[in-house]
Amino acid sequence: MPSSFEVTIRPHRGWQPIDLREIWLYRELLVFLVWRDIKIRYRQTLLGALWAVLQPLIAMVIFTFIFNRLAGVKSDGPPYPLFALAGLAPWTFFSTAVSQSSNSLVSNQQLVSKIYFPRVFIPLGSVGALLLDLGLSLILLALLMVHYRWPLSLNVLWLPVFIVAAVMATSGVGLALSAFNVSFRDVKYAVPFLIQMGIFVTPVIYPIRYIPGSWRILMGLNPMTGVVLGFRYAILGTPSPWPVMGLSLAVSVVLFISGLLIFRRMERRFADII
């Protein structure tokens, strides 16, 4: 018998490392879970995947009207609709993915209590599935750039870095919240509220230069600040403060790792209390 499969099941206490070997063994399942989420998300809807672009598009139109036209908020260079959409694309990804992944364990109770596989895949699958929506809204942004004849800068080579940062920040928050949600369903009520508030502390609607200089660095503690600034920097070529972006990137990495660790620590009790 191949003893390479030997597994010992014993009590776990405290912080647990991530079992990368196991994650590698089950990697195909993550792909299947992402595929499942994508398949079912827009089943039995009239507009299908159009919803992925409609949400940021409509938000962009409304924001442009209210904040740009009525309130007189100015972008930092590009036409305001481009400015707004470049921020809304990652922000919509973040807010949708956090709300879906934080609920993912509870809505997949059956998977938690009836079978074993690396459970980090459940919230990570929800996040992964929304990358498709992010891609679609970036295509929409590209079309709008053509319309406004706004050139794509060479900074675009940085875009993958900020996408990874967005995924890390989102996953970190989603992992931790989904784990808390197993014990405390309060999460379900807190998340929509926090996300609503979040858009105000992230420079989605307004440019970062509206924030007084000494406070700007504090904005960097919000990982999505760096992501939003980074998307604009990479796609629209707007000048962005690197100290703030750098801090945000570091926070994203820290969030991701702590989300994983929190999840692993709470994971062993999921099946008993879900």
């Binding site: 018998m1 499969f5 030997e6 597994v7 099941i9 099946a271 209390i273």
Partner: protein, 430 residues
């Protein structure tokens, strides 16, 4: 040669608080932390007192060798599911350890992770992946899986339009094609229609014949006897018996028929939830007795005697009344009905006030399962009081035919006989 599955001093503790179980873990945990914080630097924490501690499993040890097919039996709450959940890695043990020396798959449920919006084809892939199959493995066996499930025509239909039977068939078909050295199976055979159950049992015995190791939990004694070589009886979270499957089944049957508690045979009807009456609740109490007026608290073996005593009131002098009992199986089908009006001569004279009627069934030949009792009273041919699900009765396996083979299919057993009518021995060969 080391055992393929090695279970050592396994224990699992749950903490129950007066709150619902769902919250218990988390709240108790927080309460403990809070108490520990307040006592910070003080004496040792006494967290043993927060909530009620309950050992679902206590010090279980056994080995399973390659090719063993082990049946695990025991009544509800004996720890069977907890054991399977630990071995399947769904939950951690509190103490002890399990060493698994092969690739293992567990089937605690048929069709885990099926999504109603996805088609049968999509769900085969999803379910297979969840069970731990590679995409290439699923692709290679796809046609076999579909043929086994007999669902060729419905492959592209969303599973939400499937009947429950089709659902089960698809789920079992995927599971049956898992190529793993060790299989952990929980009661999945208790579902589906008869023909498919037979097919699943066949597949299971095929699996065990080719030398794979199986840990099988079931209430179905006949299946355990037929499929397993070894048997383990769990009782109160401990191993009560270990031996061959046949010995284990006998031990279990002896255990369940021997246990009775003192008042469980009396069911007061005053607080029955599902009840309708015309003027007043007249039915008062049900009592259950086995042979020789021994109180019957829970389980009844196939073919044993059942006496049901019904207490009720007649508000005014009545000549024309009728009490009845209906037995419904777990699918909600009426299996049979008894009524006092079927008995000639019982209500020969008018009566009033408290009445006690006993229905004596010399041999209750229902097959194993849980039955729900409906009890009613009619006065002057009109329903006066009726209670649904007034009591539950569990019929368990027994050696009804005296052959050591436990009957379990069908709705009831009947005494019958077989004769060989062949003219002479040589005719059999022809």
């Amino acid at each position: 040669m080391q055992p393929i599955l090695q279970i050592e001093h396994l224990s699992k503790e749950y903490v129950l608080t007066r709150d619902s179980f769902e919250k218990s873990g988390a709240r108790a945990g927080l309460a403990r932390k809070w108490a520990a914080l307040r006592r910070f630097g003080g004496s040792k924490s006494r967290d043993e007192n927060s909530g009620e501690h309950f050992w679902a499993l206590k010090d279980i040890s056994f080995n399973v060798n390659e090719g063993d097919v082990v049946g695990i039996i025991g009544r509800n709450g004996a720890g069977k599911s907890t054991l399977l959940k630990i071995v399947s890695r769904i939950t951690d043990p509190t103490e002890g350890r399990v060493v698994v020396r092969a690739r293992m798959a567990s089937l605690l449920e048929v069709g885990t992770g099926f999504h109603p919006e996805l088609t049968g084809r999509e769900n085969i892939f999803l379910n297979g992946a969840i069970l731990g199959m590679r995409k290439s493995e699923i692709v290679a066996q796809f046609d076999e899986i579909v043929a086994f499930a007999e669902l060729e025509k419905f492959l592209d239909t969303p599973v939400k339009h499937y009947s429950s039977g089709m659902h089960v068939r698809l789920g079992f078909a995927v599971a049956a094609h898992l190529n793993r050295e060790v299989l952990i199976v929980d009661e999945v055979l208790a579902v589906g229609d008869m023909a498919f159950q037979k097919k699943c049992l066949g597949k299971m015995s095929e699996v065990s014949r080719v030398g794979r190791t199986v840990l099988f939990v079931s209430h179905n004694m006949a299946a355990v006897e037929n499929l397993c070589r070894r048997g383990i009886v769990l009782n109160g979270g401990r191993i009560a018996f270990e031996g061959t499957a046949k010995e284990a089944v006998l031990d279990y049957l002896g255990r369940v028929s021997g246990s009775r508690d003192s008042t469980g045979h009396i069911v007061a009807l005053s607080a029955a939830p599902d009840r309708r009456f015309t003027r007043a609740p007249l039915l008062k109490q049900l009592e259950f007795y086995a042979d020789d007026h021994r109180p019957l608290a829970n389980d009844l073996q196939i073919g044993s005697r059942l006496q049901v005593r019904i207490h009720f009131d007649l508000p005014e002098l009545t000549e024309n009344f009728n009490v009845g009992l209906g037995f419904d199986n777990s699918y909600g089908q009426r299996v049979f009905t008894v009524q006092s009006q079927f008995q000639p001569g019982v209500r020969s004279q008018p009566r009033v006030g408290p009445q006690v009627y006993t229905c004596d069934i010399p041999s209750l030949t229902l097959t194993p399962g849980e039955y729900s009792l409906r009890v009613w009273l009619e006065i002057d041919n009109a329903e006066a009081d009726l209670i649904n699900d007034a009591a539950r009765l569990r019929v368990i396996e027994s050696d009804y035919y005296g052959t050591g083979k436990v009957p379990w299919n069908g709705a009831f057993v009947l005494k019958h006989s077989w004769r060989n009518e062949s003219a002479n021995p040589s005719a059999i060969k022809g």
